[in-house]
Symmetry: C2
DNA sequence: CTCGGCTTCTTGTCTAGATATCTAAAGGAG
DNA sequence: CTCCTTTAGATATCTAGACAAGAAGCCGAG
Protein backbone atom coordinates (compact mmCIF):
# COMPACT_ATOMS: atom_id res chain seq x y z
CA UNK A 1 0.00 0.00 0.00
CA UNK A 2 2.69 2.44 1.04
CA UNK A 3 4.51 1.43 -2.10
CA UNK A 4 1.74 2.96 -4.16
CA UNK A 5 2.10 6.27 -2.41
CA UNK A 6 5.89 6.26 -2.73
CA UNK A 7 5.62 5.87 -6.44
CA UNK A 8 3.29 8.79 -6.91
CA UNK A 9 4.49 11.19 -4.26
CA UNK A 10 7.83 12.77 -3.59
CA UNK A 11 9.47 13.18 -0.22
CA UNK A 12 9.84 16.06 2.19
CA UNK A 13 12.65 18.59 2.10
CA UNK A 14 13.87 18.85 5.70
CA UNK A 15 15.97 21.93 4.87
CA UNK A 16 12.96 23.84 3.56
CA UNK A 17 11.38 26.33 5.92
CA UNK A 18 8.01 25.60 4.34
CA UNK A 19 5.79 23.91 6.90
CA UNK A 20 5.64 20.15 6.59
CA UNK A 21 1.88 20.04 6.10
CA UNK A 22 2.19 22.59 3.28
CA UNK A 23 4.87 20.49 1.62
CA UNK A 24 2.62 17.46 1.81
CA UNK A 25 -0.25 19.48 0.36
CA UNK A 26 2.07 20.69 -2.41
CA UNK A 27 3.05 17.14 -3.31
CA UNK A 28 -0.53 15.95 -3.40
CA UNK A 29 -1.66 18.99 -5.38
CA UNK A 30 1.08 18.45 -7.93
CA UNK A 31 0.18 14.78 -8.26
CA UNK A 32 -3.44 15.68 -8.85
CA UNK A 33 -2.62 18.46 -11.31
CA UNK A 34 -0.37 16.15 -13.30
CA UNK A 35 -3.09 13.53 -13.48
CA UNK A 36 -1.35 10.96 -11.33
CA UNK A 37 -4.62 10.85 -9.45
CA UNK A 38 -7.54 10.98 -11.84
CA UNK A 39 -10.86 12.67 -11.20
CA UNK A 40 -12.81 10.65 -8.68
CA UNK A 41 -9.74 8.63 -7.71
CA UNK A 42 -9.04 7.85 -4.08
CA UNK A 43 -6.00 9.44 -2.49
CA UNK A 44 -3.79 7.32 -0.22
CA UNK A 45 -5.45 6.97 3.17
CA UNK A 46 -4.35 9.12 6.08
CA UNK A 47 -2.45 6.26 7.67
CA UNK A 48 -0.66 5.54 4.40
CA UNK A 49 0.39 9.17 4.17
CA UNK A 50 1.47 9.11 7.81
CA UNK A 51 3.73 6.18 7.05
CA UNK A 52 5.01 7.57 3.75
CA UNK A 53 5.98 10.98 5.11
CA UNK A 54 6.78 9.82 8.66
CA UNK A 55 4.65 12.50 10.31
CA UNK A 56 1.78 12.46 12.74
CA UNK A 57 -1.77 12.01 11.61
CA UNK A 58 -2.81 15.57 12.46
CA UNK A 59 -0.14 16.88 10.11
CA UNK A 60 -1.50 14.77 7.29
CA UNK A 61 -5.05 15.87 8.07
CA UNK A 62 -3.89 19.48 8.06
CA UNK A 63 -2.44 18.99 4.57
CA UNK A 64 -5.64 17.35 3.34
CA UNK A 65 -7.75 20.16 4.77
CA UNK A 66 -5.80 22.62 2.62
CA UNK A 67 -6.67 20.69 -0.51
CA UNK A 68 -10.28 20.51 0.63
CA UNK A 69 -10.50 24.26 1.12
CA UNK A 70 -9.07 24.69 -2.38
CA UNK A 71 -11.91 22.56 -3.67
CA UNK A 72 -9.48 19.99 -5.09
CA UNK A 73 -10.55 16.99 -3.01
CA UNK A 74 -13.42 16.01 -0.80
CA UNK A 75 -13.45 13.46 1.98
CA UNK A 76 -16.09 10.85 2.61
CA UNK A 77 -16.46 9.53 6.12
CA UNK A 78 -15.43 5.90 6.34
CA UNK A 79 -14.43 5.71 2.68
CA UNK A 80 -11.50 7.97 1.94
CA UNK A 81 -10.44 11.23 0.33
CA UNK A 82 -11.23 11.58 -3.36
CA UNK A 83 -10.21 13.92 -6.16
CA UNK A 84 -13.26 16.05 -6.74
CA UNK A 85 -14.80 15.43 -10.13
CA UNK A 86 -15.75 18.51 -12.10
CA UNK A 87 -19.52 18.52 -12.35
CA UNK A 88 -21.16 19.38 -15.65
CA UNK A 89 -21.58 23.12 -15.88
CA UNK A 90 -24.65 25.02 -16.86
CA UNK A 91 -23.95 27.86 -19.23
CA UNK A 92 -26.17 30.88 -18.82
CA UNK A 93 -26.37 32.63 -22.17
CA UNK A 94 -26.75 36.39 -22.29
CA UNK A 95 -29.94 36.09 -24.35
CA UNK A 96 -31.57 33.67 -21.91
CA UNK A 97 -34.35 36.15 -21.22
CA UNK A 98 -35.08 36.97 -24.83
CA UNK A 99 -38.78 36.93 -25.58
CA UNK A 100 -38.48 34.12 -28.10
CA UNK A 101 -37.30 31.72 -25.38
CA UNK A 102 -40.49 32.45 -23.50
CA UNK A 103 -42.94 31.03 -26.02
CA UNK A 104 -42.70 27.39 -24.93
CA UNK A 105 -44.84 25.85 -22.29
CA UNK A 106 -41.96 24.65 -20.14
CA UNK A 107 -39.65 26.81 -18.12
CA UNK A 108 -36.23 27.73 -19.49
CA UNK A 109 -34.54 25.59 -16.87
CA UNK A 110 -36.43 22.44 -17.87
CA UNK A 111 -35.96 22.95 -21.61
CA UNK A 112 -32.26 23.61 -21.25
CA UNK A 113 -31.64 20.67 -18.93
CA UNK A 114 -33.52 18.28 -21.21
CA UNK A 115 -31.43 19.47 -24.14
CA UNK A 116 -28.23 18.84 -22.14
CA UNK A 117 -29.40 15.34 -21.23
CA UNK A 118 -29.74 16.09 -17.51
CA UNK A 119 -32.71 15.37 -15.31
CA UNK A 120 -34.11 18.69 -14.03
CA UNK A 121 -36.10 19.20 -10.85
CA UNK A 122 -37.57 22.19 -9.09
CA UNK A 123 -38.50 22.03 -5.43
CA UNK A 124 -38.79 24.05 -2.25
CA UNK A 125 -41.44 26.09 -3.94
CA UNK A 126 -42.78 28.74 -1.60
CA UNK A 127 -44.94 31.67 -2.58
CA UNK A 128 -45.93 34.22 0.02
CA UNK A 129 -46.34 37.86 0.79
CA UNK A 130 -43.79 39.50 3.06
CA UNK A 131 -42.05 42.69 4.04
CA UNK A 132 -39.07 43.31 1.74
CA UNK A 133 -35.49 43.67 3.01
CA UNK A 134 -34.10 47.17 2.72
CA UNK A 135 -32.05 46.14 -0.30
CA UNK A 136 -34.96 44.60 -2.19
CA UNK A 137 -37.17 47.48 -1.16
CA UNK A 138 -34.74 50.03 -2.54
CA UNK A 139 -34.47 48.20 -5.85
CA UNK A 140 -38.24 47.94 -6.27
CA UNK A 141 -39.02 51.55 -5.39
CA UNK A 142 -39.88 51.05 -1.72
CA UNK A 143 -43.08 48.95 -1.78
CA UNK A 144 -44.48 48.18 1.65
CA UNK A 145 -44.97 44.51 0.94
CA UNK A 146 -43.88 42.17 -1.83
CA UNK A 147 -44.70 38.77 -3.21
CA UNK A 148 -41.78 36.39 -2.72
CA UNK A 149 -41.40 33.29 -4.88
CA UNK A 150 -38.71 30.88 -3.67
CA UNK A 151 -37.50 27.77 -5.46
CA UNK A 152 -34.50 25.50 -5.71
CA UNK A 153 -33.24 23.99 -8.94
CA UNK A 154 -31.61 20.56 -9.20
CA UNK A 155 -29.83 18.74 -12.01
CA UNK A 156 -29.67 14.95 -11.79
CA UNK A 157 -30.62 15.22 -8.14
CA UNK A 158 -27.91 17.71 -7.30
CA UNK A 159 -29.00 21.19 -6.14
CA UNK A 160 -27.34 23.86 -8.26
CA UNK A 161 -29.28 27.04 -7.63
CA UNK A 162 -31.54 28.68 -5.11
CA UNK A 163 -33.57 31.69 -6.16
CA UNK A 164 -36.12 34.12 -4.79
CA UNK A 165 -38.15 36.49 -6.94
CA UNK A 166 -39.68 39.58 -5.36
CA UNK A 167 -42.52 41.49 -7.00
CA UNK A 168 -44.46 44.53 -5.77
CA UNK A 169 -47.86 43.45 -4.47
CA UNK A 170 -49.76 45.95 -6.63
CA UNK A 171 -48.45 44.09 -9.66
CA UNK A 172 -48.58 40.49 -8.53
CA UNK A 173 -51.47 40.16 -6.09
CA UNK A 174 -54.40 38.07 -7.34
CA UNK A 175 -52.68 37.23 -10.61
CA UNK A 176 -51.26 33.93 -11.90
CA UNK A 177 -47.91 35.21 -10.63
CA UNK A 178 -49.13 34.53 -7.10
CA UNK A 179 -49.86 30.91 -8.01
CA UNK A 180 -47.26 28.20 -7.33
CA UNK A 181 -47.18 27.46 -11.04
CA UNK A 182 -47.55 30.71 -12.98
CA UNK A 183 -48.05 28.91 -16.29
CA UNK A 184 -46.18 28.71 -19.62
CA UNK A 185 -43.31 31.15 -20.07
CA UNK A 186 -43.05 31.80 -16.35
CA UNK A 187 -43.64 35.05 -14.52
CA UNK A 188 -42.02 37.16 -17.23
CA UNK A 189 -44.67 36.04 -19.71
CA UNK A 190 -47.38 36.85 -17.14
CA UNK A 191 -45.89 40.28 -16.44
CA UNK A 192 -46.06 41.15 -20.11
CA UNK A 193 -49.67 39.94 -20.33
CA UNK A 194 -50.45 42.24 -17.43
CA UNK A 195 -49.18 45.19 -19.43
CA UNK A 196 -45.69 45.34 -18.02
CA UNK A 197 -43.77 44.87 -21.25
CA UNK A 198 -40.19 44.10 -20.30
CA UNK A 199 -37.53 46.47 -21.52
CA UNK A 200 -34.30 45.29 -19.97
CA UNK A 201 -32.64 43.56 -17.01
CA UNK A 202 -29.81 44.71 -14.78
CA UNK A 203 -27.69 41.98 -13.26
CA UNK A 204 -25.29 42.37 -10.38
CA UNK A 205 -22.78 39.60 -9.72
CA UNK A 206 -20.69 38.77 -6.68
CA UNK A 207 -18.78 35.68 -5.64
CA UNK A 208 -18.13 34.63 -2.05
CA UNK A 209 -17.98 31.66 0.27
CA UNK A 210 -21.38 30.21 1.19
CA UNK A 211 -23.10 30.63 4.54
CA UNK A 212 -23.87 27.45 6.51
CA UNK A 213 -27.48 27.66 5.29
CA UNK A 214 -26.34 27.90 1.67
CA UNK A 215 -23.97 24.97 2.16
CA UNK A 216 -26.88 22.93 3.43
CA UNK A 217 -29.41 24.04 0.82
CA UNK A 218 -27.06 23.53 -2.11
CA UNK A 219 -25.26 20.53 -0.54
CA UNK A 220 -21.98 22.24 -1.29
CA UNK A 221 -18.65 20.50 -0.85
CA UNK A 222 -15.94 22.28 1.10
CA UNK A 223 -14.05 24.77 -1.04
CA UNK A 224 -16.89 25.58 -3.43
CA UNK A 225 -17.83 29.27 -3.58
CA UNK A 226 -21.20 30.61 -4.63
CA UNK A 227 -22.12 33.11 -7.29
CA UNK A 228 -24.62 35.61 -5.98
CA UNK A 229 -26.65 37.19 -8.76
CA UNK A 230 -29.23 39.91 -8.25
CA UNK A 231 -31.33 40.68 -11.29
CA UNK A 232 -33.76 43.55 -11.59
CA UNK A 233 -36.32 43.54 -14.41
CA UNK A 234 -37.53 46.87 -15.80
CA UNK A 235 -40.62 47.46 -17.91
CA UNK A 236 -40.83 49.91 -20.79
CA UNK A 237 -42.05 52.63 -18.45
CA UNK A 238 -38.76 52.33 -16.55
CA UNK A 239 -40.32 50.76 -13.51
CA UNK A 240 -38.54 47.94 -11.64
CA UNK A 241 -41.13 45.15 -11.70
CA UNK A 242 -39.14 42.26 -10.28
CA UNK A 243 -35.99 41.54 -8.32
CA UNK A 244 -34.58 38.02 -8.49
CA UNK A 245 -31.98 37.03 -5.92
CA UNK A 246 -30.08 33.90 -6.97
CA UNK A 247 -27.37 31.91 -5.23
CA UNK A 248 -25.62 29.39 -7.47
CA UNK A 249 -23.08 26.66 -6.78
CA UNK A 250 -20.08 28.22 -8.49
CA UNK A 251 -18.72 24.92 -9.79
CA UNK A 252 -21.92 24.29 -11.71
CA UNK A 253 -22.10 27.52 -13.67
CA UNK A 254 -20.49 29.58 -16.38
CA UNK A 255 -22.14 32.91 -17.04
CA UNK A 256 -21.99 34.42 -20.52
CA UNK A 257 -22.61 38.05 -21.37
CA UNK A 258 -22.72 40.00 -24.57
CA UNK A 259 -21.52 43.60 -24.47
CA UNK A 260 -22.01 45.92 -27.43
CA UNK A 261 -19.00 48.15 -28.13
CA UNK A 262 -21.35 51.04 -28.88
CA UNK B 1 -10.50 38.85 29.85
CA UNK B 2 -12.50 35.65 29.99
CA UNK B 3 -15.31 37.80 31.36
CA UNK B 4 -15.47 39.62 28.06
CA UNK B 5 -15.85 36.40 26.16
CA UNK B 6 -18.52 35.12 28.54
CA UNK B 7 -20.61 38.19 27.98
CA UNK B 8 -20.55 37.93 24.22
CA UNK B 9 -20.59 34.19 23.68
CA UNK B 10 -23.01 31.51 24.76
CA UNK B 11 -22.10 28.11 26.12
CA UNK B 12 -21.96 24.64 24.62
CA UNK B 13 -24.87 22.26 24.49
CA UNK B 14 -23.51 18.92 25.77
CA UNK B 15 -26.65 17.09 24.62
CA UNK B 16 -26.26 18.26 21.04
CA UNK B 17 -24.72 15.80 18.61
CA UNK B 18 -23.21 18.71 16.72
CA UNK B 19 -19.44 18.58 17.09
CA UNK B 20 -18.02 20.85 19.76
CA UNK B 21 -15.81 22.79 17.36
CA UNK B 22 -18.81 23.43 15.13
CA UNK B 23 -20.82 24.70 18.07
CA UNK B 24 -18.00 27.07 18.96
CA UNK B 25 -17.82 28.24 15.35
CA UNK B 26 -21.60 28.75 15.38
CA UNK B 27 -21.42 30.88 18.50
CA UNK B 28 -18.63 33.02 17.11
CA UNK B 29 -20.36 33.36 13.75
CA UNK B 30 -23.57 34.46 15.38
CA UNK B 31 -21.73 37.00 17.52
CA UNK B 32 -20.07 38.42 14.42
CA UNK B 33 -23.30 38.47 12.41
CA UNK B 34 -25.11 40.27 15.17
CA UNK B 35 -22.39 42.87 15.37
CA UNK B 36 -21.16 41.93 18.83
CA UNK B 37 -17.74 41.90 17.19
CA UNK B 38 -17.38 44.79 14.80
CA UNK B 39 -15.45 44.75 11.54
CA UNK B 40 -11.76 44.72 12.30
CA UNK B 41 -12.37 43.81 15.94
CA UNK B 42 -10.22 41.23 17.65
CA UNK B 43 -11.85 37.99 18.69
CA UNK B 44 -11.03 36.52 22.12
CA UNK B 45 -7.63 34.82 21.99
CA UNK B 46 -7.37 31.07 21.61
CA UNK B 47 -6.47 30.64 25.26
CA UNK B 48 -9.45 32.74 26.33
CA UNK B 49 -11.74 30.58 24.21
CA UNK B 50 -10.10 27.46 25.64
CA UNK B 51 -10.92 28.66 29.11
CA UNK B 52 -14.42 29.88 28.27
CA UNK B 53 -15.56 26.67 26.60
CA UNK B 54 -13.35 24.29 28.62
CA UNK B 55 -11.98 22.51 25.57
CA UNK B 56 -8.51 21.86 24.25
CA UNK B 57 -6.70 24.35 22.10
CA UNK B 58 -6.93 22.25 18.92
CA UNK B 59 -10.70 22.28 19.22
CA UNK B 60 -10.73 26.05 19.39
CA UNK B 61 -8.33 26.31 16.46
CA UNK B 62 -10.54 23.95 14.49
CA UNK B 63 -13.50 26.24 15.11
CA UNK B 64 -11.53 29.31 14.09
CA UNK B 65 -10.33 27.62 10.92
CA UNK B 66 -13.94 27.12 9.89
CA UNK B 67 -14.62 30.83 10.20
CA UNK B 68 -11.44 31.54 8.27
CA UNK B 69 -12.46 29.30 5.39
CA UNK B 70 -15.79 31.10 5.31
CA UNK B 71 -13.92 34.35 4.87
CA UNK B 72 -15.40 35.77 8.07
CA UNK B 73 -12.19 36.23 10.03
CA UNK B 74 -8.49 36.25 9.37
CA UNK B 75 -5.70 35.49 11.77
CA UNK B 76 -2.52 37.47 12.16
CA UNK B 77 0.46 35.68 13.59
CA UNK B 78 1.41 37.01 17.00
CA UNK B 79 -1.51 39.46 17.09
CA UNK B 80 -4.83 37.67 17.14
CA UNK B 81 -7.83 36.72 15.06
CA UNK B 82 -9.81 39.60 13.59
CA UNK B 83 -13.18 40.06 11.96
CA UNK B 84 -12.38 40.61 8.30
CA UNK B 85 -13.26 44.11 7.16
CA UNK B 86 -15.13 44.32 3.88
CA UNK B 87 -12.80 46.02 1.44
CA UNK B 88 -14.16 48.71 -0.86
CA UNK B 89 -15.57 47.06 -3.95
CA UNK B 90 -14.99 48.04 -7.52
CA UNK B 91 -18.10 48.05 -9.59
CA UNK B 92 -17.61 47.07 -13.20
CA UNK B 93 -20.34 48.72 -15.23
CA UNK B 94 -21.70 46.99 -18.27
CA UNK B 95 -20.82 49.99 -20.46
CA UNK B 96 -17.22 50.13 -19.29
CA UNK B 97 -15.97 49.45 -22.82
CA UNK B 98 -18.18 52.00 -24.52
CA UNK B 99 -16.22 54.10 -26.98
CA UNK B 100 -16.91 57.31 -25.13
CA UNK B 101 -14.96 56.07 -22.10
CA UNK B 102 -11.98 55.62 -24.36
CA UNK B 103 -11.40 59.23 -25.33
CA UNK B 104 -9.38 60.22 -22.26
CA UNK B 105 -5.65 59.99 -21.96
CA UNK B 106 -5.66 57.79 -18.89
CA UNK B 107 -6.76 54.17 -18.66
CA UNK B 108 -10.23 53.36 -17.42
CA UNK B 109 -8.80 51.81 -14.26
CA UNK B 110 -6.90 54.97 -13.30
CA UNK B 111 -9.80 57.33 -14.02
CA UNK B 112 -12.27 55.21 -12.10
CA UNK B 113 -9.99 54.77 -9.09
CA UNK B 114 -9.25 58.48 -8.91
CA UNK B 115 -12.97 59.19 -8.97
CA UNK B 116 -13.52 56.74 -6.11
CA UNK B 117 -10.75 58.34 -4.08
CA UNK B 118 -8.46 55.32 -4.20
CA UNK B 119 -4.81 55.25 -5.16
CA UNK B 120 -4.44 53.12 -8.31
CA UNK B 121 -1.31 51.28 -9.40
CA UNK B 122 -0.45 48.99 -12.29
CA UNK B 123 2.55 46.72 -12.10
CA UNK B 124 3.96 43.40 -13.25
CA UNK B 125 3.77 44.69 -16.77
CA UNK B 126 5.05 42.12 -19.22
CA UNK B 127 4.63 42.20 -22.97
CA UNK B 128 5.92 39.33 -25.05
CA UNK B 129 5.21 37.01 -27.92
CA UNK B 130 4.35 33.43 -27.12
CA UNK B 131 2.53 30.31 -28.20
CA UNK B 132 -1.12 30.48 -27.16
CA UNK B 133 -2.77 27.90 -24.93
CA UNK B 134 -5.27 25.69 -26.71
CA UNK B 135 -8.12 27.63 -25.14
CA UNK B 136 -6.84 31.05 -26.19
CA UNK B 137 -5.91 29.69 -29.58
CA UNK B 138 -9.43 28.38 -30.16
CA UNK B 139 -10.98 31.69 -29.18
CA UNK B 140 -8.70 33.69 -31.49
CA UNK B 141 -9.08 31.47 -34.55
CA UNK B 142 -5.96 29.33 -34.09
CA UNK B 143 -3.08 31.77 -34.55
CA UNK B 144 0.38 30.19 -34.30
CA UNK B 145 1.73 32.87 -31.99
CA UNK B 146 0.17 35.72 -30.02
CA UNK B 147 1.21 38.87 -28.25
CA UNK B 148 0.59 38.55 -24.50
CA UNK B 149 0.24 41.63 -22.31
CA UNK B 150 0.23 40.88 -18.57
CA UNK B 151 -0.44 43.35 -15.78
CA UNK B 152 -1.63 43.51 -12.20
CA UNK B 153 -3.90 46.20 -10.83
CA UNK B 154 -3.73 47.53 -7.26
CA UNK B 155 -5.95 49.85 -5.26
CA UNK B 156 -4.37 51.61 -2.28
CA UNK B 157 -1.53 49.12 -2.45
CA UNK B 158 -3.78 46.08 -2.44
CA UNK B 159 -3.74 43.83 -5.53
CA UNK B 160 -7.26 43.35 -6.83
CA UNK B 161 -6.91 41.97 -10.34
CA UNK B 162 -4.47 40.16 -12.57
CA UNK B 163 -5.04 40.20 -16.31
CA UNK B 164 -3.49 38.95 -19.53
CA UNK B 165 -4.51 40.16 -22.99
CA UNK B 166 -3.78 37.97 -25.99
CA UNK B 167 -3.75 39.36 -29.54
CA UNK B 168 -2.93 37.64 -32.82
CA UNK B 169 0.56 38.64 -33.96
CA UNK B 170 -0.60 39.71 -37.44
CA UNK B 171 -2.65 42.41 -35.75
CA UNK B 172 -0.38 43.52 -32.93
CA UNK B 173 3.22 43.05 -34.12
CA UNK B 174 5.16 46.28 -34.67
CA UNK B 175 2.27 48.45 -33.50
CA UNK B 176 1.86 50.57 -30.34
CA UNK B 177 -0.01 47.57 -28.92
CA UNK B 178 3.34 45.79 -28.60
CA UNK B 179 4.71 48.66 -26.50
CA UNK B 180 4.54 48.49 -22.69
CA UNK B 181 2.42 51.64 -22.74
CA UNK B 182 0.08 51.53 -25.73
CA UNK B 183 -0.99 55.16 -25.31
CA UNK B 184 -4.25 56.99 -24.53
CA UNK B 185 -7.41 54.90 -24.58
CA UNK B 186 -5.47 51.64 -24.28
CA UNK B 187 -5.23 48.82 -26.76
CA UNK B 188 -8.88 49.06 -27.77
CA UNK B 189 -8.28 52.61 -29.07
CA UNK B 190 -5.20 51.37 -30.95
CA UNK B 191 -7.11 48.44 -32.44
CA UNK B 192 -9.70 50.79 -33.83
CA UNK B 193 -7.01 53.07 -35.29
CA UNK B 194 -5.57 50.02 -37.00
CA UNK B 195 -8.88 49.44 -38.76
CA UNK B 196 -10.33 46.86 -36.38
CA UNK B 197 -13.45 48.74 -35.37
CA UNK B 198 -14.85 46.97 -32.34
CA UNK B 199 -18.33 45.54 -32.62
CA UNK B 200 -18.96 43.68 -29.38
CA UNK B 201 -17.44 41.70 -26.52
CA UNK B 202 -18.31 38.28 -25.16
CA UNK B 203 -17.61 37.71 -21.49
CA UNK B 204 -17.47 34.37 -19.72
CA UNK B 205 -17.56 34.31 -15.92
CA UNK B 206 -16.62 31.61 -13.43
CA UNK B 207 -15.95 31.68 -9.71
CA UNK B 208 -13.66 29.28 -7.88
CA UNK B 209 -11.07 29.05 -5.13
CA UNK B 210 -7.69 30.50 -6.04
CA UNK B 211 -4.59 28.47 -6.85
CA UNK B 212 -1.55 28.99 -4.59
CA UNK B 213 -0.04 31.25 -7.29
CA UNK B 214 -3.18 33.37 -7.41
CA UNK B 215 -3.25 33.60 -3.62
CA UNK B 216 0.30 34.90 -3.72
CA UNK B 217 -0.18 37.30 -6.64
CA UNK B 218 -3.39 38.80 -5.29
CA UNK B 219 -2.34 38.48 -1.61
CA UNK B 220 -5.66 36.80 -0.92
CA UNK B 221 -6.85 36.04 2.59
CA UNK B 222 -8.11 32.55 3.35
CA UNK B 223 -11.70 32.09 2.29
CA UNK B 224 -11.69 34.59 -0.56
CA UNK B 225 -12.66 33.13 -3.94
CA UNK B 226 -11.68 34.57 -7.29
CA UNK B 227 -13.80 35.62 -10.22
CA UNK B 228 -12.35 34.36 -13.47
CA UNK B 229 -13.46 36.43 -16.44
CA UNK B 230 -12.55 35.69 -20.04
CA UNK B 231 -13.44 38.40 -22.50
CA UNK B 232 -13.22 38.12 -26.27
CA UNK B 233 -13.36 41.27 -28.40
CA UNK B 234 -14.82 41.05 -31.91
CA UNK B 235 -14.40 43.59 -34.71
CA UNK B 236 -17.11 44.53 -37.18
CA UNK B 237 -15.92 41.85 -39.59
CA UNK B 238 -16.73 39.27 -36.94
CA UNK B 239 -13.11 38.45 -36.20
CA UNK B 240 -11.93 37.82 -32.62
CA UNK B 241 -9.15 40.38 -32.22
CA UNK B 242 -8.35 40.03 -28.53
CA UNK B 243 -8.86 37.65 -25.61
CA UNK B 244 -8.44 39.04 -22.11
CA UNK B 245 -8.10 36.58 -19.24
CA UNK B 246 -8.72 38.22 -15.88
CA UNK B 247 -8.56 36.87 -12.34
CA UNK B 248 -10.13 39.14 -9.72
CA UNK B 249 -10.23 39.03 -5.93
CA UNK B 250 -13.92 38.28 -5.47
CA UNK B 251 -14.30 40.44 -2.38
CA UNK B 252 -13.18 43.50 -4.30
CA UNK B 253 -15.64 43.33 -7.17
CA UNK B 254 -19.24 43.61 -8.16
CA UNK B 255 -19.96 43.02 -11.83
CA UNK B 256 -22.88 44.76 -13.46
CA UNK B 257 -24.50 43.74 -16.71
CA UNK B 258 -27.28 45.16 -18.82
CA UNK B 259 -29.46 42.69 -20.70
CA UNK B 260 -31.99 43.87 -23.26
CA UNK B 261 -35.31 42.00 -23.09
CA UNK B 262 -35.42 41.97 -26.92
C1' DC C 1 -29.58 -19.01 -0.74
C1' DT C 2 -30.40 -14.53 2.42
C1' DC C 3 -29.73 -11.89 6.37
C1' DG C 4 -27.43 -10.13 10.34
C1' DG C 5 -23.40 -9.61 13.04
C1' DC C 6 -18.37 -9.15 13.25
C1' DT C 7 -14.15 -7.31 11.77
C1' DT C 8 -11.37 -4.03 9.59
C1' DC C 9 -10.30 0.09 7.38
C1' DT C 10 -11.63 4.55 6.82
C1' DT C 11 -12.36 9.53 8.32
C1' DG C 12 -14.20 12.51 12.38
C1' DT C 13 -13.50 14.43 16.84
C1' DC C 14 -11.00 15.56 20.93
C1' DT C 15 -7.24 15.78 24.35
C1' DA C 16 -2.74 17.42 26.33
C1' DG C 17 0.94 18.67 25.61
C1' DA C 18 5.79 20.77 23.27
C1' DT C 19 8.40 24.05 20.60
C1' DA C 20 8.73 27.91 17.25
C1' DT C 21 7.86 32.46 15.70
C1' DC C 22 5.76 36.81 15.51
C1' DT C 23 4.09 41.27 17.83
C1' DA C 24 3.95 44.78 20.94
C1' DA C 25 4.89 46.81 25.02
C1' DA C 26 7.83 47.44 29.00
C1' DG C 27 12.23 48.46 30.72
C1' DG C 28 17.14 49.42 30.75
C1' DA C 29 21.55 51.28 28.65
C1' DG C 30 23.51 54.93 26.55
C1' DC D 1 15.39 61.31 24.77
C1' DT D 2 16.57 57.12 21.52
C1' DC D 3 17.69 52.48 20.77
C1' DC D 4 18.14 47.79 22.08
C1' DT D 5 16.84 43.89 24.95
C1' DT D 6 13.69 41.49 27.47
C1' DT D 7 9.32 39.59 28.27
C1' DA D 8 4.57 38.35 27.84
C1' DG D 9 1.10 36.95 24.96
C1' DA D 10 -0.45 35.68 20.57
C1' DT D 11 -0.72 32.35 16.65
C1' DA D 12 1.81 28.43 13.93
C1' DT D 13 3.37 23.90 13.75
C1' DC D 14 3.83 19.27 15.28
C1' DT D 15 3.46 15.05 18.13
C1' DA D 16 1.15 10.81 20.20
C1' DG D 17 -2.60 8.96 21.33
C1' DA D 18 -7.71 7.93 22.32
C1' DC D 19 -12.40 6.95 21.11
C1' DA D 20 -16.40 7.56 17.78
C1' DA D 21 -18.73 6.54 13.68
C1' DG D 22 -19.43 5.36 8.78
C1' DA D 23 -18.58 1.85 4.96
C1' DA D 24 -17.73 -2.46 3.24
C1' DG D 25 -16.62 -7.06 3.07
C1' DC D 26 -16.47 -11.71 5.38
C1' DC D 27 -18.80 -15.33 7.30
C1' DG D 28 -21.73 -18.11 9.90
C1' DA D 29 -26.71 -18.90 11.30
C1' DG D 30 -30.86 -19.92 9.59
Amino acid sequence: MAALASGLLGSLDPTSDRAVFRQIADHLREAIDKGRFAEGAKLPSESELVEHFSVSRMTVRNALSILQSEGLVSSEHGKGVFVRPRPPVRRLASDRFARRHREQGKSAFIVEADAAGSRPEVDNLEVKEERPSTDVSARLGAPRRVLARRRRYLLDGRPVEFATSYLPLDIARDTPIAQPNPGPGGIYARLEELGHTLDHFEEEIRARMPSPLEIKTLQLATGVPVIHLIRTAFDTKGRAVEVCDTVMAADAYILNYHLPAK
